[in-house]
């Protein structure tokens, strides 16, 4: 008998339409592609307009860029338009940052290396499969480790980038952040990857919810008229505001220009559809081109009349915002509730049937899956794993607090089951009021193994929002409109009164009304800060002195913790000040105009995002990574060093410096703890030393671990959470509002783990941290899922924008109807205990191991990482190893 592994498939599998299948097949063969059209026309216009008012200058440049994009329609599509001419296209925005895609020899690249902007790139891993262009070939040049550009376009791109040297948000921001006292230290923080990213020029917007309302209600012509009327009304009036009251005129002019640009873009597509109709011989395809032409020609001017037109318009608006700025995590919000009135009307009037709706939703999924965001390798690989987080929320409660789920959302779940793709991922806003049928449909979707929907707690989110936006007058009704922005960022939204066609009813639809979140301080690595505490400010990887020596002996646990908090606070303060400057430069020269006009209350106030035109502006936050490795490390230090004195601090530091007698993770190209390899006594260490390392490591591993419902370690977590979520509010964003805590890892736990020495919890150097903020470290949660849930809910989740707990379940653990019900009870139990977020990877670990060996057999395998779903072949090895290592629950 041969001992081949038995691989358990996922229980549920859907069947997408033939049309979707054909288009998805093209996607599987598509490379991430970059071209110059947008930056070319943007830059050309921008540099022509010296001395124009900043908002108008930017708007003119945007209009020029949008109206020059080449329209390409692929046969078989029903929902058309994409970011660029390519199926999976994106483009550089050198006005944000130009250094990182220069050649490594280039002086700009060297300059950004020095200031730490590219450090994350060097330690981030991009999956080498799928559509990533990780190496140049033939006539294709690989840039930023992921994107391919034709060699014919590369010299022009470099020339365009040079035009922005010293003028980009990155460069200008850097010029001024250098004036912050202690800036040198900030450079060291970035170089050592204590913090993974600057905020103001990488992905300055996103992790927010779009608002589709105004174009749905008024159409482009209606909005252009509103802007024109407002210009006449406000011209020359300060309206009691001596600072920015006069700017309203220029802002309305800017709004009008950008609307005209996006309108021209849509009309170029309409023209292309007409052209294709003329050259097409197949009658069905000809008819489809004709319909595409009619829909586009209509929505370029007027409010949509049907579900299909509304869906097309929402998609167009979405990519228009994505083209305006470098954005990840522009969420759709509760699109099923936004589009429900159109769906209901069409269904009632016999214009559409459910199967057609599902096919359109499948095609929309495919469109979102094709969305790429051009950014540096560190951002795209190290944080995003190639995903762009266009999250679709379902469920929640309506304006009056009732169950808000509807039949269109059921169809969205069905489309997600039939067409399993990374985007849009789904987030279910869980409330006890939600119907069981709806929840069980969601559980069925989880069982496909796509990892969506994730479950977020409606009540906890509302409590967070009411506290955070109290000063901006948020009330309970408005709090109910919330959605997830990005992968897991609770975002403020508002109810908008929609009227459609001749329907006398007013529908209150939810839409985003807040600024970007996950801006402010990006990803501070808590285990790395602990490393600095233990080694008096010195980074063990580079031997660079990152922070000033604390000169404390760390004689007690309290002294250790106090030193940690001091170091952490210093880092945060420096980063807040520098990032505020970067965002301030962004708002002066690179402000959102299209995104702004969509959000209440810019259009009525005449102020864009940069002048606090949005209804909610207190959205800046402080992000952390590696919470659980920090907590486990603190528990181990407390136990082994201070309470039981099993070893001295010096002994521990000696072991850490020597990676507890193990080889480096990089040298064996494996990033999970279980695969690490010991050094042999022939490799420069004595047998005695090796035994000592083993002894120490064993004590570190045996120390209490989070996730087992143990008071010793859970109380450390609670203390940390109470302190951290409180300290964030001591800092202010550039908009004058207090910051708050954001606790998600996305993929940073891979890159940041790669540069961090061994930690006192037994984790070895270079290995990936525990994912999320509340997932147990792989293999250390020994008491089952309910114990893990107990540990995770030992503190108040509503003090933070989010928390993140990921479960890995073997498909057998939730098989059949009874398995589905068990899973639903688990979700309910967690939510009722006040847990904020829960997501599931339903997969057989053996299958993942096989996929790592034979990626060619698994092009369509999806896994849940941390807040997002991604193709296995498109994620980096350090994250793959971590997903494999996660504790797999075989039974519940």
């Amino acid at each position: 008998m041969h001992n081949e592994l038995k691989l358990f498939p996922r229980e549920i599998k859907g069947q997408m339409s033939e049309r979707t299948q054909k288009l998805l097949k093209i996607y599987y063969q598509t490379l991430s592609s970059v071209d110059n059209e947008f930056p070319y026309w943007y830059s050309r216009k921008y540099f022509e307009l010296d001395n124009e008012v900043a908002a108008v200058r930017r708007a003119q440049a945007l209009k020029e860029a949008f109206s020059h994009l080449t329209a390409v329609i692929f046969p078989g599509e029903l929902i058309v338009m994409q970011k660029t001419m390519h199926y999976r296209g994106s483009f550089a925005m050198p006005w944000l940052s130009e250094g990182y895609f220069m050649s490594k020899e280039d002086e700009f690249y060297q300059a950004s290396l020095k200031r730490g902007s590219t450090s994350a790139d060097q330690h981030s891993k991009m999956g080498s499969g799928g559509g990533n262009v990780t190496k140049s070939f033939g006539k294709v040049v690989s840039i930023a480790g992921k994107f391919g550009i034709r060699e014919e376009e590369m010299p022009a791109l470099l020339e365009l980038a040079r035009m922005w040297y010293g003028k980009s948000v990155d460069d200008l921001g850097n010029k001024y952040e250098k004036m912050v006292p202690g800036y040198d230290c900030k450079e060291k923080i970035m170089r050592s990857l204590v913090c993974m990213f600057d905020s103001g020029y990488t992905l300055p917007q996103g992790r927010e919810v779009i608002n589709y309302y105004y174009p749905l209600q008024y159409g482009f012509d209606g909005l252009i008229k509103i802007a024109s009327d407002k210009m006449s009304e406000v011209a020359g009036f300060a309206n009691g505001d001596g600072m920015v009251g006069m700017n309203r005129l220029y802002n309305y002019q800017a709004i009008k220009l950008v609307l005209e640009g996006v309108q021209a873009w849509i009309l170029n597509y309409a023209k292309e559809a007409k052209r294709l109709e003329h050259i097409e011989n197949d009658l069905d395809q000809k008819q489809e081109y004709q319909e595409i032409y009619e829909n586009l020609q209509w929505i370029a001017y007027h409010p949509p009349r049907s579900f299909k037109e509304a869906l097309q318009l929402c998609w167009t608006l979405h990519i228009a915002v994505l083209n305006e700025d470098a954005i990840s995590g522009l969420s759709l919000g509760r699109l099923g509730q936004v589009l429900y009135p159109y769906y209901e009307n069409d269904l009632r009037n016999g214009k559409i049937i459910e199967e057609q709706v599902i096919e359109l939703l499948e095609l929309q999924r495919l469109k979102f899956t094709c969305v790429d965001c051009f950014a540096s390798m560190g951002v795209v690989g190290g944080v995003l794993s190639g995903n762009t987080f266009n999250n679709l929320s379902i469920g929640g409660t309506d304006k009056d607090g009732r169950d808000a789920s509807n039949t269109l959302e059921m169809l969205m779940l069905e489309a997600g089951i039939r067409c399993p793709t990374p985007q849009p991922t789904l987030s279910l806003l869980y409330d006890d009021k939600l119907d069981d049928e709806f929840l069980l449909k969601a559980v069925q979707s989880v069982k496909t193994g796509t990892g969506y929907p994730a479950f977020m707690n409606n009540r906890v989110a509302m409590e967070f929002l009411l506290e955070q936006y109290r000063n901006e007058n948020m009330n309970i009704e408005e709090a109910r409109a919330w959605s997830i922005g990005g992968c897991l960022e609770t975002s403020p939204c508002s109810w908008m009164p929609l009227k459609i066609n001749s329907d006398p009813k007013t529908y209150y639809i939810p839409g985003g009304s807040g600024q970007p979140t996950s801006v402010g301080v990006h990803f501070v690595s808590l285990p790395k800060v602990l490393e600095l505490v233990l080694f008096d400010g010195v980074d063990q990887r580079t031997s660079e002195s990152v922070l000033e020596k604390h000169n404390r002996k760390l004689n007690s646990y309290d002294e250790l913790l106090a030193t940690f908090k001091d170091y952490f606070s210093k880092i945060v303060e420096l980063l807040v000040r520098c990032n505020n400057i970067q965002h301030d430069i962004w708002r002066k020269n690179n402000m959102a105009i299209f995104n702004s006009l969509l959000k209440p209350d810019c259009l009525s106030k005449g102020h864009l995002i940069n002048e606090l035109g949005y209804r909610y502006n207190a959205t800046f936050n402080i992000e952390t990574t590696g919470t659980i490795n920090l907590i486990n490390s603190l528990a181990s230090l407390k136990k082994n060093i201070y309470d039981e004195k099993r070893m001295t601090l010096d002994e521990l530091k000696w072991a850490i410096k020597n990676n507890c007698g193990y080889k480096t993770a990089e040298s064996i190209n494996s990033y999970s703890l279980m695969d690490q390899v010991k050094i042999a006594d022939t490799e420069g260490v004595t047998r005695r030393e090796l035994e000592h390392f083993e002894e120490i490591h064993s004590l570190l591993m045996k120390a209490p671990k989070y996730g087992n419902s143990e008071e010793y370690v859970d109380s450390i977590l609670k203390d940390w959470e109470d302190w951290f979520t409180g300290m964030c509010r001591n800092y202010q964003s550039l908009y004058g509002h207090p910051l708050y805590a954001c606790q998600i890892s996305v993929s940073t736990h891979g890159a940041m783990g790669a540069v961090t020495s061994a930690t006192p919890d037994g984790r070895l150097a270079g290995t990936t941290f525990a994912d999320g903020s509340l997932s147990a470290y792989p293999g250390t949660d020994k008491n089952g899922p309910f114990a893990l849930m107990n540990s995770a809910t030992c503190f108040d989740h509503s003090r933070s924008q989010n928390t993140q707990l990921n479960f890995k379940l073997h498909p057998m653990a939730i098989a059949g109807n009874s398995g589905s019900k068990k899973l639903l009870e688990l979700i309910r139990g967690y939510m009722r205990r006040g847990g904020f977020h829960l997501q599931f990877n339903v997969v057989d670990t053996n299958m993942l191991k096989d996929a790592q060996k034979h990626p060619e057999n698994y092009r369509d395998l999806l896994v849940r990482v941390a807040g997002f779903t991604q193709y296995w072949v498109e994620i980096g090895k350090n994250i793959q190893d971590e997903v494999i290592a996660r504790t797999e629950y075989g039974e519940m």
């Binding site: 093209i26 598509t30 110059n36 199926y87 296209g89 006539k139 376009e153 011989n281």
Partner: protein, 93 residues
């Protein structure tokens, strides 16, 4: 009789670029390589390199200038010009 010029797929109007190396032939609906030759009847796609206002650079194959608007600016031969209001096809193309 002069043969009709045969262009690369990526220089024709019947090509929808899927990515930087391949695309769809809009007539046959098949996946084709960007640099393969298209059938002779396929029409030329407007690009800067085919435009009267394009002046190629002395030192680079892939860079030049556009003289089609009030202010001259960088141009590159391969840029698609379907949406350029100043595009005028060079007679010898």
């Amino acid at each position: 009789m002069k043969n009709k010029t045969q262009y690369h797929y990526r220089d024709t109007l019947n090509y929808a670029p899927v990515d930087v190396v391949k695309g769809i032939d809009l007539i046959t609906k098949s996946l084709v390589k960007a640099d393969d030759l298209a059938p002779p009847e396929y029409e030329l796609l407007p690009k800067c390199k085919f435009c009267k206002h394009f002046s190629s650079g002395a030192n680079s194959n892939y860079k030049g200038s556009c003289l089609g608007f009030a202010k001259p600016f960088l141009a590159y031969p391969d840029m698609i010009a379907k949406t350029c209001s100043s595009y005028i096809k060079n007679e010898h193309e």
